[in-house]
């Protein structure tokens, strides 16, 4: 009942069963279905594949998806850092409620977020009506997509940065202050370098989520080809036209991007852990 020798002597049973089941289930649900997309696409020649994934409409959708995701993740990096700082360092009425609400975008179904934001930012909506006199349109424009992607990415930065701020050593800040540093210098030179890996990890997580996001965006986007059509929507459009090959080729592009993002995030986390290990 000892299928594989573990590095250290381990008397616990069930290694073969649990690992075997894990691998079996992982292959069945995740790996085999994902490989289907790559195998389907392999039947295309490189020219055919490139022809599908580089038409002007598709390229416009990449630009929009990435541009809006980068801006959304950037907004979250700035405001997420402030929110995390405020939640850790200050006490004020309503703080615990605010803290609990940070996770709302994880818990609220994306379709609900999508129709709620669309209703708010439409020209007759609560916020849209305030902006309309200034000629600012949000719903059914690229701005609306940025709003939706900011919403769904909000928890990532806060929740990755928050524990790092909690673990910050106050002594370092005291030392910096007693050596004559201003509070701003202390923040830039002492605090920021410590939380930077976590901040970047949060940014990358928010970006990765935003690139693949669909539910919250389709309602507010307006979905006009070349202007407000995101790549996941284009996949759906191709599927509805029974263009399975085209949909799969785009899916492969998105999968490759996902894998790259995953690699970047893992490297960032490794960096963050190493940094944290050295600090303590």
């Amino acid at each position: 009942m000892n299928p594989r020798p573990a590095k250290r002597h381990n008397v616990l049973p069930g290694f073969g069963l649990s690992l075997g089941y894990t691998l079996f289930y992982l292959c069945l649900i995740v790996l085999i279905p994902l490989s289907a997309a790559f195998i389907r696409t392999a039947s295309l020649s490189w020219e055919q594949f490139w022809g599908i994934v580089s038409t002007p409409r598709v390229v416009a959708s990449y630009q929009l998806t990435f541009g809006a995701s980068l801006i959304g993740a950037g907004i979250n990096a700035v405001f997420g850092l402030i929110v995390a700082w405020v939640l850790v360092r200050y006490s004020f009425p309503g703080k615990r409620l605010l803290d609990a609400m940070v996770d709302l975008p994880f818990a609220l179904p994306t379709a609900v977020a999508g129709i709620a934001l669309t209703g708010l930012y439409a020209q007759n909506g609560w916020i849209g009506a305030l902006l309309a006199p200034y000629g600012i349109k949000v719903a059914f424009t690229q701005l609306g997509i940025i709003v939706a992607l900011t919403f769904i990415g909000l928890p990532f930065v806060v929740r990755t940065v928050q524990p790092v701020i909690e673990d910050l050593e106050r002594e370092l800040e005291e030392a910096a202050a007693s050596l004559g540093a201003t509070r701003w210098q202390t923040f830039m030179n002492v605090i920021l370098p410590v939380i930077l890996p976590a901040l970047l990890t949060g940014f990358a997580l928010a970006l990765a989520r935003a690139i693949g996001e669909y539910g919250s965006v389709v309602f507010i986007a307006g979905n006009i080809p070349m202007q407000t059509e995101i790549t996941p929507l284009l996949i759906i459009t191709k599927l509805e036209q029974y263009d399975y090959v085209g949909a799969t080729a785009l899916a492969v592009v998105m999968l490759v991007i996902s894998f790259c993002m995953l690699l970047v995030i893992n490297l960032l986390q490794w960096w963050a852990n190493r940094r944290a290990g050295r600090e303590s």
């Binding site: 381990n10 616990l12 649900i29 997309a37 929110v83 609220l108 379709a111 709003v147 998105m254 893992n266």
Partner: protein, 301 residues
Amino acid sequence: MSATTTRPASPAPAVALKRTATGEHPAIKWLLIGVSVVFMVLFLIIPLVAVFFEALKKGVDVYFAALAEPDALAAIKLTLLVAGIAVPVNLVFGVAASWAIAKFDFRGKSLLITLIDLPFSVSPIVAGLIYVLLFGAQGWFGPWLQANDVKVIFAVPGIVLATIFVTFPFVARELIPLMETQGNEEEEAALVLGATGWQTFWKVTLPNIKWGLLYGVILCNARAMGEFGAVSVVSGHIRGQTNTMPLHVEILYNEYQFAAAFAVASLLALLALVTLGLKSFIEWKTRHEHAVLPLEAPRQT
């Protein structure tokens, strides 16, 4: 925790010093708090309030009529059914995976953890698409399924599969770090005292991980009930048959039945609030337990 006890007794005025030397100017402090509150109210609170406001705008009668409508009831039932299958299946997987990963050393462990997290980085649309490629009419198993009269895509099994995919990592990623920090000592003690493997699991491991398990299940359930993109690819949007609640919301919204759409959406928003409430409760509960029970203290079971 232990740092505070090992540190030599520091003079009390240190607390007062902290406030002045390493605190921000009150104006900056309140500015930052203000920015945070405005940002969160704008992006989180107002949209949430808007859901309930729009749902109840035309009165309570319209609200309940929208929920009692047969298609809405069918959508609610289907959503409960899908979550009722996907969550337990992923729960079993999560426990098995975390047992293997946290309790044993083996090569390729970090690769396995990355692969388990993979569904989180895949776009929901792609998640739905890969099942169409496998089980759709033109898919690998399509002809065989058609010959045997089994429908997966545009039917309930496809919805369940897509939901399992998108909620795949939730329980495992909650349990792995928890079980890693708990170590193997308690299980080893149980085994030395003559317990069988299953007894050890049920009586020692499970009570230790129950809160983490519940935490993962709650998040998994919220996503399972609320998943939109992946499910919309495989569902086929057949009213009363393959529409989950989020898909029903979409259809009503696109038909300009806003009050009804927001009524169904408000149920999902309530689910989100319950999820957040339970999540906060578990966080409070576990912090509480940690504070009371040092790791070495005997546990009452």
